[in-house]
């Protein structure tokens, strides 16, 4: 199995890569894409130690939209073809700060939406041609409904989800699988500054198990952990005239 991981140094991505190895029945080869050469090398070493047959490192800034097609093409060549691609990079911008700056807002959208779209498109083109493969993209429950506390991030994640939905519609006839992943609160370095309490927080390992299972079962959209489906169904059903008054 050939796996491409975009944003490979993220905690969820690392956990997913390991989970693929644990559940694999055939040898697994990786291409790991990210910005930091040193960290990618540590992850590659780890995956080899955990029984991957190869783990190639590819340094790339994933916000350079023009470079996304070439990035995918290089990874494709390295592996021969790609069975599963996970798009896992992202940032959590500080809403209060970036809402005052178009430059920062644009950057947040590039980091959390546009680059995901460019990558999905580049992958879709190639997978459509061979009529197989899986694209898994990490969105967020924050994309399901805008809230004052993080609507720029939410808008980006929502855009990614809608884009993926449309693309899934297009890819169905070629048999290519597209999975949208909507995690809730995950305990990772990205959320380090947030005080973590209570039962809503999940570990990257828990989320990774859900993701790999969803890839294997060719699911369309998953909430992880699963209870977020229920929470978001309720959140989405609150009428706007009430919702707008809530402090969320």
């Amino acid at each position: 199995m050939n796996v491409l991981i975009l944003g490979a140094t993220s905690a969820i991505a690392q956990a997913v890569a390991r989970q693929f190895l644990l559940s694999a029945t055939t040898p697994v080869k990786f291409v790991l894409v990210g910005r930091n050469d040193d960290k990618l090398a540590l992850i590659a070493e780890d995956l080899i130690g955990r029984s991957a047959t190869a783990a190639h490192v590819q340094v790339q800034d994933l916000t350079q939209l023009d470079a996304m097609d070439a990035c995918i093409s290089r990874a494709w060549e390295t592996l021969g073809s790609i069975d599963v691609a996970l798009i896992a990079h992202g940032t959590l911008p500080e809403q209060r700060e970036i809402e005052k700056s178009w430059e920062l807002t644009e950057q947040a959208l590039r980091e959390n939406a546009l680059s995901h779209m460019a990558l999905m498109e580049a992958l879709a083109l190639r997978m459509e041609a061979i009529k197989r493969g899986t694209i898994a993209v990490i969105g967020s429950v924050a994309g399901d409904r805008g809230r004052q506390s993080n609507y720029i991030y939410g808008a980006a994640k929502g855009a990614t989800a809608i884009y993926a939905q449309g693309l899934r519609n297009r890819l169905t006839k070629s048999g290519v699988h597209l999975l949208t992943i909507k995690p809730g609160f995950v305990d990772t370095p990205m959320t380090e500054s947030i005080a973590k309490k209570g039962l809503l927080w999940a570990s990257p390992e828990q989320v990774a198990q859900d993701i790999v299972k969803a890839v294997q079962k060719k699911r369309n959209v998953i909430y992880t952990p699963g209870f977020w489906w229920l929470i978001m169904t309720i959140v989405k059903s609150v009428p706007e005239f009430i919702f707008k008054k809530l402090s969320m």
């Binding site: 905690a11 644990l22 040193d38 960290k39 540590l42 992850i43 070493e45 780890d46 080899i48 130690g49 955990r50 029984s51 370095p189 380090e192 005080a195 309490k197």
Partner: protein
């Protein structure tokens, strides 16, 4: 950080500032620390060894990467925050096992070295430290020392069982043990008294894994009745790694649920069940080595007041004084009515650990859980301490929250020599407690 209970027993309560170490290539700004620091693994020590009240804990659990694994030789090099369970998931399917493992797999590699943990095979394999080939030690000066039995041998000896005080272990290389299968052939035998139990250990000297559970609420002739369990890895090929389902204890139990009567009922059931199931059988390695791991956060059955472990070892003695000492301890416990759910008996062998402050020594070891009943529990510990003292025995820091400074200094005469290796920026609540009063 809000969290108060940092150790498995939940005693003492403490507050910390937490620094997460995510990459072994990151630099830690020790110079910027305004208080002392201490490495922290999975917090599976019972007492105050992983605690540094009002200080800084450097969390290592994100350092969980494999660096190299040679499936031919069984040499594994990992980051120190990887858990033993994670290691097993990687190596068992390829025919290897940990050379030594404690009774839970939720401990880190670094924590296993820093407490120099022992397992059911101490009489055959010694401690965890006996199988460490080398490690990288980060000092607060920023210096990184690669320590082996021959390179920086002094830091090697001080850091194994060094209670996290000599610096932070970043990576470690260990020698694994070859296995043919992930199953264990077990042989369980019920015994009716302490002597019978200890005789079983003698008879099973050549069995790799041995341990016994003891009922410490019985009196008289039945004192020290229990179930002995011996095990060997099966020779039948089957390495499938079975995922086991976990139960969770979601909330702290109200403390009234644990009393003399409930423990007595539990013990009676456990004994009867063990007796019924006596004999030979085959089991997966997880229930054999980690029976408690199935119940996640089982420590919470002891409620908010927390609980203590008491683990000591006493030498056999020329005229079997060791046996008598253990008998007297069981007697005291039984008399006190302070119920111990889990009393574990084992015999340590004479294999010397490289660690300066290593706990195990040839003799008998007893490990017990006690709910925290305040003074009553302390009085029991005083009596147990006196027996250990008389017998020239030792207490295990990893499980301790109560021992007196004088006892520690008596039991670990190398403590002053060890102190020279302590990193100037590192400290722990345990260390302050056992060294502040001089013997």
């Amino acid at each position: 950080m809000k969290k108060e209970s940092w150790s498995w027993g939940g005693i003492p309560k403490a507050s910390h500032q937490v620094v997460n170490l995510r990459w072994r290539t990151d630099t830690i700004n020790f110079a910027g620390f305004t208080a002392s620091c201490l490495p922290y693994g999975l917090g599976r020590s019972y007492g105050d060894v992983p605690i540094n009240d009002e200080g800084i804990l450097v969390r290592t659990t994100a350092l969980d990467r494999v660096i190299a694994f040679d499936a031919e030789t069984g040499v594994l090099h990992c980051e120190a925050g990887i858990s033993l369970g994670d290691i097993l998931r990687v190596v068992v399917p390829r025919g290897w096992f940990l050379p030594v493992t404690p009774g839970t797999q939720f401990v880190t590699l670094g924590g296993a070295i820093a407490n120099d943990v022992h397992g059911k095979n101490h009489h055959c394999a010694g401690t965890f430290g006996c199988h460490v080939l080398g490690f990288e030690l980060l000092r607060s000066s920023g210096e990184k020392l690669w320590c082996t039995p021959t390179e920086h041998a002094d830091y090697f000896a001080a850091t194994i069982a060094g209670l996290g005080l000599t610096g932070l272990i970043l990576t470690a290389k260990i020698q694994l043990t070859k296995i043919a299968a992930n199953k264990i052939d077990v042989n369980n035998q019920a015994f009716n008294g302490l002597d019978e139990g200890l005789d079983l250990f003698e008879q099973h000297e050549d069995t790799t894994y041995t341990v016994a559970w003891v009922d410490c609420l019985t009196r008289g002739a039945q004192l020290g009745r229990g179930i002995f369990s011996g095990g060997e890895f099966s020779q039948t090929e089957s390495r499938k790694n079975l995922a086991t389902k976990r139960l969770a204890v979601p909330l702290d139990f109200p403390s009234f649920s644990l009393n003399k009567y409930s423990v007595q009922a539990f013990n009676n059931l456990y004994f009867a069940n063990g007796k019924r199931k006596s004999g030979r059988g085959v089991t997966d390695y997880e229930p054999f080595f980690y029976p408690l791991d199935k119940v996640h956060a089982w420590n919470r059955i002891y409620g908010r007041k927390g609980f203590y472990q008491y683990q000591c070892c006493v030498p056999f003695g020329e005229a079997n004084e060791g046996r008598e000492a253990i008998r007297e301890m069981l007697n005291q416990i039984s008399l006190s009515g302070n119920a111990s759910f889990l009393a574990v008996l084992k015999v340590f062998g004479d294999k010397q650990s490289p660690g300066m402050l290593s706990f195990p020594e040839k003799g008998i070891t007893l490990a017990l859980d006690f709910p925290n009943w305040g003074d009553k529990t302390q009085r029991l510990f005083d009596r147990l301490d006196a027996i250990v003292r008389e017998q020239n025995g030792k207490n295990y820091p990893a499980k301790d929250a109560c021992m007196k400074a004088a006892d520690f200094q008596q039991q670990y005469p190398q403590w002053e020599a060890f102190a020279k290796f302590i990193d100037p920026k590192f400290s722990s609540s345990f260390w302050r407690r056992v060294t502040q009063e001089n013997a």
